[in-house]
C-alpha cells in the first residue's frame, strides 16, 4: 500500500472549508429559489387575465390598455425621483467624504442614515399635509408661465396632489440610499489615486473628477439602481400623496397612477378576475425592475477593462 504524506484526511480546516462552501452554496440557491417562487406565483395567479375576455378587464379594452398608463405613471414618478435624488445624493456624499470637516461629516452621515429609517407612511403624510399645499403656488406659477410645455400644462392642481409631488416625496425617500452607498464607495477610493491626481497639480474638484468618480462609477450605478428599486415599488407614500386619474402628460395636474399604489388601493376589495389583474400588474412591475437591473449590469460590465479591478 502506498501512502502519500501530503494527503490529509479529515483535518479541522478541511471540514470548515466544506461547511462554509456548503452554506454559501445553500444561501445562493435559497435566493434563486425565492425569486423563482415569486415569479411562478405571479405568473400562475396572473394567467387568467391574459386569456380573459377584453371586455371584462377594467376599462373594458384588455389588459394591455389597462396596464399601459400605470406603467408610464410608475416610470414617470420614479424618473422624477431619480432626476432629483441622484445629483443631490452624490453631491451630499462627496461633501461628507471629501469636503466636510471630519466631525461634521460623521454627524451628517448619521442624520442621512436616519432618514432611511423613517417609515414610508410618515413620508406620505408629510407629502400630503405639508409638501403638497406648499407646492400649489409653484404649480400655479409653472402653469401660467411655462404652460406651453406639455408637462407643465395647466390648470394646475388646487391641492398639489400631483405626480410631481409624488416624485419629490420619492426623491426624499431614495436620497439616503443613494447618499449612504455613494459615500461608502467614495471613502474607499485608494489614497494612491487621489494623491496621484493632487501631485499633478489637480484642485480638489479635479482630483474628485479624475480619481474618485471613475473609481466609484459602478458603485454609483448600483446605488442609483437600488434607489430606483425603492422608487418603483414604493406604495404607501404615493397612495397618500397622489390624487389618481387617467394618464396625462402634465405633471402638475391631478392624474396618473403608479402600479404599486394601484395594487395597494384596490387589493382589499379585489376578487376573481380583478385580483389576477392586480397580480398581473405586480408581475409587470417585477419585470420592469428586472430589466432595469440587467441594463445596469450591462453598463457596469461594458467598462470592466477600465474599472481598475485588473
Amino acid at each position: 500500500m502506498t501512502t502519500n504524506a501530503l494527503r490529509r484526511n479529515g483535518s479541522k480546516g478541511q471540514v470548515g472549508d466544506k461547511v462554509f462552501s456548503g452554506a454559501a452554496l445553500g444561501a445562493g440557491i435559497l435566493i434563486l429559489v425565492t425569486l423563482l417562487a415569486v415569479a411562478v406565483f405571479l405568473l400562475i395567479q396572473a394567467l387568467p387575465i391574459f386569456s380573459a375576455d377584453p371586455e371584462l378587464v377594467s376599462g373594458g379594452e384588455g389588459f394591455a390598455t389597462y396596464i399601459f398608463p400605470i406603467v408610464i405613471g410608475t416610470v414617470i414618478a420614479a424618473a422624477i425621483a431619480l432626476v432629483i435624488a441622484t445629483p443631490v445624493g452624490i453631491a451630499v456624499a462627496l461633501f461628507i467624504s471629501h469636503y466636510a470637516p471630519r466631525r461634521l461629516a460623521a454627524g451628517l452621515g448619521y442624520v442621512i442614515d436616519l432618514l432611511a429609517a423613517i417609515p414610508s407612511v410618515i413620508y406620505g403624510a408629510w407629502g400630503y399635509l405639508v409638501l403638497a399645499p406648499a407646492l400649489v403656488p409653484i404649480y400655479a406659477w409653472l402653469a401660467e408661465n411655462l404652460g406651453f410645455i406639455p408637462i407643465f400644462e395647466g390648470p394646475a392642481s388646487q391641492t398639489g396632489k400631483t405626480i410631481f409631488t409624488a416624485g419629490i416625496v420619492l426623491a426624499v425617500m431614495v436620497l439616503p440610499i443613494i447618499t449612504s452607498l455613494s459615500r461608502e464607495i467614495f471613502l474607499q477610493t485608494p489614497k494612491l489615486h487621489e494623491e496621484a491626481a493632487l501631485a499633478l497639480g489637480a484642485t480638489r474638484w479635479e482630483m474628485i473628477v479624475m480619481s474618485v468618480i471613475p473609481f466609484a462609477r459602478p458603485g454609483i450605478i448600483s446605488a442609483v439602481m437600488l434607489g430606483l428599486g425603492r422608487a418603483l415599488g414604493e406604495t404607501m407614500a404615493v397612495a397618500l400623496v397622489l390624487s389618481t386619474g387617467a394618464l396625462i402628460p402634465s405633471l402638475i395636474k391631478s392624474g396618473n397612477q403608479t402600479i404599486a399604489a394601484e395594487i395597494a388601493l384596490n387589493f382589499p376589495e379585489a376578487f376573481g378576475l380583478r385580483l389576477s389583474e392586480l397580480i398581473a400588474a405586480g408581475l409587470v412591475l417585477f419585470v420592469i425592475t428586472l430589466v432595469v437591473n440587467l441594463i445596469a449590469r450591462a453598463i457596469i460590465a461594458r467598462h470592466k477593462e477600465f474599472s481598475g479591478a485588473n
Binding site: E195, G201, A202, M210, P214, F215, E305, F306
Partner: protein
C-alpha cells in the same frame, strides 16, 4: 527648466507630533539628490513637504521655509495646486489612473485647470513624454489600452511620463523602485540619469547601492529612537557619504553596521 530648492529651518508635524526636526538643505538644479536612512526616519515625510503633499494628510503641517529659486512654497497666498504643478511626484507604488487609457494617463496633468490642447500637440506631447520615460517603444501600439494593464515597471515609467508631461521644475521620487524587479529598477535608474539633464531630481531610497549609482549628493536621515523626531544627519557629495563620511552614524549605516 529646472530650479533649485533651499530648505531653511524646516520642522514637520503631524498635528502636535514633531516628525522631522530642523532641516536645512540646499538642492542644486539639474542634479540628483538621494535621501537615505532607516525606516521611519522621516525622509519620505520630508520629501512630501517639498511639494506640499504632506498637508494632504489630516493634521500634516510644517514650520519653516522651502524656497524654489527663492520663492517660499509656504508663504500665505501660495496655492498648493500651483506648487504641485511645478514640483511633480512619483510614488512608491505605481499609480496610473486605472480608468484611463495610456494616452489619457500621460495627458492627465496637462489637461488640468481647464487647459486646452490641440489634438496634434497632444499626440506630440504623448510621444515625447513616453520617449522621455523610455516607454514609447513598448506601448506605442496600445495607447488606447488601460494603463493598469502594463507591468509594474512599465506602470512606474508611465507615472514618470505623466509627471514630465506637465514640464515640472523638480521631480520628487518616493522609493520609486521598491515595488519593482531588478530589471525594471535598472530601467528606472537609467531614466533618472537622463532626467537630470532637464530636471532637478530628488529621490528617497532604501537601497544604498541605488543611491550610490544614481545620485550626485546624498542626505542621510536618522532617528534617535521611537517617538523622537527624525533629523538630517549628514549631507554631502555621494562619494563622500559612501567612502568617507564625517559622522559615525552615517558610516555605520552605509557600511551595514547599523543598530
Amino acid at each position: 527648466m529646472s530650479k533649485r530648492i533651499d530648505v531653511k529651518d524646516l520642522n514637520v508635524y503631524y498635528t502636535n507630533f514633531l516628525a522631522v526636526e530642523d532641516v536645512n538643505i540646499e538642492i542644486e538644479a539639474k542634479s540628483v539628490t538621494a535621501f537615505i536612512g532607516p525606516s521611519g526616519c522621516g525622509k519620505s515625510t520630508f520629501l512630501r513637504t517639498l511639494n506640499r503633499m504632506h498637508e494632504v494628510i489630516p493634521g500634516g503641517r510644517v514650520e519653516g521655509e522651502v524656497l524654489l529659486d527663492g520663492d517660499n512654497l509656504y508663504e500665505s497666498g501660495v496655492d498648493p495646486v500651483t506648487v504641485r504643478s511645478q514640483i511633480g511626484m512619483v510614488f512608491q507604488r505605481p499609480n496610473p489612473f486605472p480608468t484611463m487609457s495610456i494616452r489619457d494617463n500621460v495627458l492627465a496633468g496637462v489637461k488640468l485647470n481647464s487647459k486646452k490642447i490641440s489634438r496634434s500637440d497632444a499626440e506630440d506631447l504623448v510621444e515625447k513624454s513616453l520617449r522621455g520615460a523610455n516607454l514609447w517603444n513598448e506601448v506605442k501600439d496600445r495607447l488606447d489600452k488601460p494603463g493598469s494593464g502594463l507591468s509594474g515597471g512599465q506602470q512606474q515609467r508611465l507615472c514618470i511620463a505623466r509627471t514630465i508631461a506637465v514640464k515640472p521644475q523638480v521631480i520628487l521620487m518616493d522609493e520609486p523602485c521598491s515595488a519593482l524587479d531588478p530589471i525594471s529598477t535598472l530601467a528606472i535608474e537609467d531614466l533618472i540619469n537622463e532626467l537630470k539633464n532637464e530636471f532637478t531630481v530628488v529621490i528617497v531610497t532604501h537601497n544604498m547601492q541605488q543611491a550610490a549609482r544614481v545620485s550626485d549628493k546624498t542626505a542621510f536621515f536618522n532617528i534617535a529612537g521611537t517617538g523622537k523626531p527624525g533629523k538630517l544627519i549628514e549631507y554631502a557629495e555621494t562619494a563622500t557619504i559612501f567612502s568617507n563620511p564625517t559622522v559615525k552614524a552615517t558610516e555605520d549605516y552605509v557600511s551595514g553596521r547599523f543598530g
